[in-house]
């Protein structure tokens, strides 16, 4: 007898997500992911000054606003016909790189780790570290006080197979605390060249409004050194430690097995060379990426508009009662295939197309530690490992970019807003492929479309009935206790979903009650 379980709200992600799974004989047999928030950002953009898009699209997501600033700036660069000077391009990379670092560290320690680490182990701490003793005393006092929700926000939680070893747990708790400081410093790095974080003000068409000074270079480098050290000596070893304790997650959450990367971090003025290359891996074959093969399907999405359109021609007409539709996410597909985006896609594509010996060496060394083949990358642990390795690659390269900055040289090229124009900006957010498309009429925005990472990963069935990557990854996941579906949380969080990003998402549910009363 199968049982349907809803996890609503799915927490420790960005935004409002409901996950519905059907469990039969201890395994997930069907899965649906529904976003539950809509703001209509693209409709808000219509009729505005094109430059406003640069600020407004950042508000799509406060976890990775820098990626929207980058996508929007690339879109406006192409529509306005401007090229940033080297300082401008480097500042954009440094801002984006800081954002990767803060996002990846936050994701592993503060969003994902609580699915593995037993936080209550702190009560058994017997060492002398003052901070851990403070936390222990706090947790004990909370439990002794008889108050409502003691040790919040760390309890309550799903019960499950948390790490049993006290020392491992305590070390993880110490790193959770340290990672709070590290992610804050990565945000400070971003603000040094971005003005502030979240929602930077310097990344704009033509480059950046920031002025390069030696003090800024030093302030950035100093923080970067500490963060690089944390990534190498704490973050990567911690991911490997979790993998050692939960090896079964190399075979759980495999997903669709196809990858897409737009490529990210421009290495020259034309943007043709990137640190992490564009490319696809579909049906076991690595191929070059072609923007014309993108299309969004709405066969099972609540839209009456046409299906299979390229994003530059996309329409968004809601239809609450559409037959067979169960989601307000559209289903973007590449060349008609379901593809996964994110760190696994970027690292996977770079590795499989042999873009970098350093990167492939890191991937192979990691797989060798677990006696695993390249297929093991397609898994919960594969995603965490790819994210951690990517953090190191980005941190290392940031150290080189910051050294290339030239104090006294311009970072911005003056732009004129054209009366008419089209623009496109493709980049990669920490969570995956991000594209913006604009068309300008009478110097105002006529159309603005965003296709964001979680629309790819969290998409519903397309017109052929093929399920989205996250849904496919959930199917087959073993669930030990339907009252505590902790395993499903591990699979979903490995994708680092961001529902605020999924701009198209709405769920006006027919079951909605008109009045909410508390008994």
């Amino acid at each position: 007898m199968s049982k349907t379980i809803q996890i609503d709200p799915m927490t420790r992600i960005e935004g409002h997500l409901k996950v519905e799974i059907e469990v039969d004989k201890g395994k997930v047999t069907d899965a649906r992911c529904c976003g539950e928030m809509f703001r209509g950002i693209e409709k808000i953009l219509h009729g505005r000054n094109p430059v406003d898009a640069n600020q407004i699209t950042q508000r799509i997501c406060g976890v990775c606003p820098a990626s929207h600033a980058q996508a929007s700036s690339l879109t406006l660069d192409s529509a306005f016909g401007v090229t940033p000077p080297d300082n401008g391009r480097l500042i954009r990379n440094l801002v984006l790189g800081s954002n990767y670092l803060q996002s990846h560290v936050l994701h592993f320690y503060h969003l994902a780790a609580l699915d593995y680490v037993d936080i209550t182990a702190i009560l058994k701490y017997s060492g002398k570290d003052p901070e851990l003793n403070r936390v222990k005393a706090w947790a004990q006092a909370e439990l002794d006080s008889g108050k409502a929700n003691p040790v919040a926000p760390f309890l309550p939680r799903y019960e499950g197979d948390y790490i049993a070893d006290t020392d491992v747990n305590i070390s993880a708790i110490a790193h959770y605390l340290k990672a709070l400081e590290i992610r804050r410093k990565a945000q400070e790095m971003l603000a040094i060249f971005g003005g502030r974080m979240p929602h930077n003000v310097t990344i704009m068409p033509g480059g950046s409004s920031e002025t390069v000074t030696v003090n800024k270079i030093a302030a950035y480098s100093s923080r970067l050194r500490e963060i690089k050290d944390f990534v190498e000596n704490v973050y990567i070893p911690d991911v490997l430690a979790v993998a050692g304790l939960y090896p079964q997650y190399f075979a759980i959450g495999q997903g669709c097995g196809n990858l897409l990367s737009y490529g990210v971090f421009e290495e020259d003025a034309t943007g043709s060379e990137k640190l992490l290359p564009a490319g696809t891996y579909v049906n076991g074959e690595v191929k070059a990426f072609s923007e014309s093969k993108l299309a969004e399907y709405v066969g099972h999405s609540r839209y009456s508009s046409g299906t299979g359109y390229h994003p530059s021609k996309g329409e968004t007409e809601p239809d609450i009662y559409k037959d067979k539709a169960y989601s307000w996410l559209k289903a973007p597909r590449y060349d008609n295939s379901v593809v996964e985006v994110g760190p696994l896609a970027r690292v996977g594509v770079a590795h499989l197309c042999g873009a970098s010996e350093t990167l492939s060496g890191m991937v192979n060394d990691t797989l060798a530690k677990f006696d695993a083949g390249v297929g093991a990358l397609f898994s919960v642990l594969g995603r965490h490992a790819a994210r951690a390795l990517e953090a190191k690659i980005v941190a290392d390269r940031c150290a080189e970019w910051v050294a290339q900055l030239q104090p006294g040289q311009p970072a911005h090229t003056k732009f004129e807003i054209p009366a008419e124009g089209q623009g496109i900006g493709l980049t990669e957010a920490p969570r995956g492929a991000l594209g913006h498309w604009i068309s300008i009429k009478d110097k105002k925005i006529d159309r603005y479309q965003c296709v964001v990472p979680t629309t790819w990963n969290g998409s519903p069935c397309d017109d052929t009935g093929a399920k989205g990557p996250m849904e496919q990854a959930l199917i087959g996941t073993p669930i030990a206790d339907v009252e505590n579906p902790i395993e499903a949380g591990r699979v979903v969080r490995s994708f680092d979903p961001c529902i605020a990003c999924a701009v198209h998402v709405i769920t006006p549910d027919r079951k909605l009650v008109s009045e909410f009363r508390v008994v």
């Binding site: 809509f38 209509g40 219509h46 505005r48 006080s145 945000q187 502030r196 508390v518």
Partner: protein, 330 residues
């Protein structure tokens, strides 16, 4: 053993006792009754907080995590008891929803509700839902009404929760509203900013814990943070007075001609700085976008980079011989 709060604080010898209690509790040799009193005081001083999100980008949560002194670990273990927060809490699904239901039923008047994001009201609030109750989805509007009614005070954090912000921008298809438009009768403090500054959030919470409600302006913003406009405190004020005007982004000089909202924006980020004071908007060469104001981001149709009309430039003396020429009508 029973001590009044005053007696207790005198015993502790400081008014910031909340910060040292957890450490003392850990010390050996403290008699049981004192320990008990300490534990009770801890419970009293750690303000129970329930933090929910409407139409938000989570940017104000991310920003609050950036607090430096105190850092966020200190805030969570020594200042507040964060009972619900979608991005950080361990619980998901039903156990998470139960925290909210218990607060409404059993913690009436005991907790502070924090709302981040605007509240969707079109289509019965269906554009923003979180959690289910008896198999029915619950809208953010319903949560704000029922939790807001039970809370002792409500903090609307960020410009979306304070004034509607980006989701309420024209054409506002989701009927996005500010918290104060949903539950006007509640005790509400608005802490706008897109995002809000961590010092404003932590400072307001500390003020509520130690001294009660702070003094508010006509938009319910704490005057201690939002009492002056950016232009009054701007490091480029001398450029304005002397007529040195930037003609492009990244240039030195006053940014009025590039659409700076400094004369209209109530905010102290210009002296406080962002992110551990490493930078702030105008220092980084970009005009203030007025993100703490009720008019953000529409500004009566002008948008973010259109020159402010003179009637929006409060108290500015334009008569200086070199001052930029103001726009008389937008």
């Amino acid at each position: 053993m029973s001590l009044s709060r005053r007696e207790f604080l005198e015993l502790m010898g400081c008014t910031a006792s909340a910060a040292v209690i957890p450490g003392i509790l850990h010390c050996a040799g403290i008699p049981g009754p004192v320990k008990q009193a300490l534990a009770e005081e801890l419970q009293r001083t750690q303000l129970p907080v329930i933090w929910i999100q409407g139409q938000s980008c989570a940017g104000c949560s991310v920003s609050t995590l950036n607090t430096v002194h105190p850092d966020i670990a200190e805030v969570l273990t020594e200042t507040i008891s964060l009972q619900f927060h979608p991005n950080v809490m361990a619980a998901a699904g039903d156990p998470a929803v139960e925290v909210l239901e218990r607060a409404i039923a059993e913690q009436r008047g005991e907790f502070v509700l924090v709302v981040e994001g605007s509240i969707a009201t079109a289509e019965g609030g269906a554009y923003c839902q979180s959690g289910e109750r008896k198999e029915h989805p619950v809208t953010a509007e319903q949560w704000v009404r029922s939790l807001g009614e039970a809370a002792k005070a409500v903090l609307a954090i960020g410009t979306c929760a304070s004034f509607g912000g980006i989701p309420a921008a024209r054409p506002n298809v989701t009927g996005a509203k500010a918290v104060q438009d949903i539950i006007p009768q509640a005790t509400i403090i608005n802490i706008p900013g897109c995002p809000s500054h961590p010092d404003w959030v932590v400072g307001t919470v500390a003020h509520v814990v130690l001294y009660g409600l702070p003094e508010l302006d006509e938009h319910r913003r704490p005057k201690m943070f939002f009492g002056k406009v950016v232009h009054e405190q701007c490091e480029r004020r001398a450029d304005f007075e002397d007529g040195r005007v930037a003609e492009d982004f990244g240039q030195q000089g006053c940014l009025y001609d590039l659409g700076c909202k400094g004369p209209d924006a109530h905010c102290d980020a210009c002296i406080r700085g962002w992110n551990n004071n490493v930078n702030w908007c105008i220092r980084s060469g970009s005009p203030c976008i007025g993100c703490t104001e009720p008019g953000f981001p529409d500004f009566s149709g002008g948008g973010l980079y259109t020159k402010l009309p003179i009637e929006r430039t409060y108290g500015i003396d334009w008569s200086g011989p070199n001052a930029p020429k103001p726009v008389v009508k937008s």
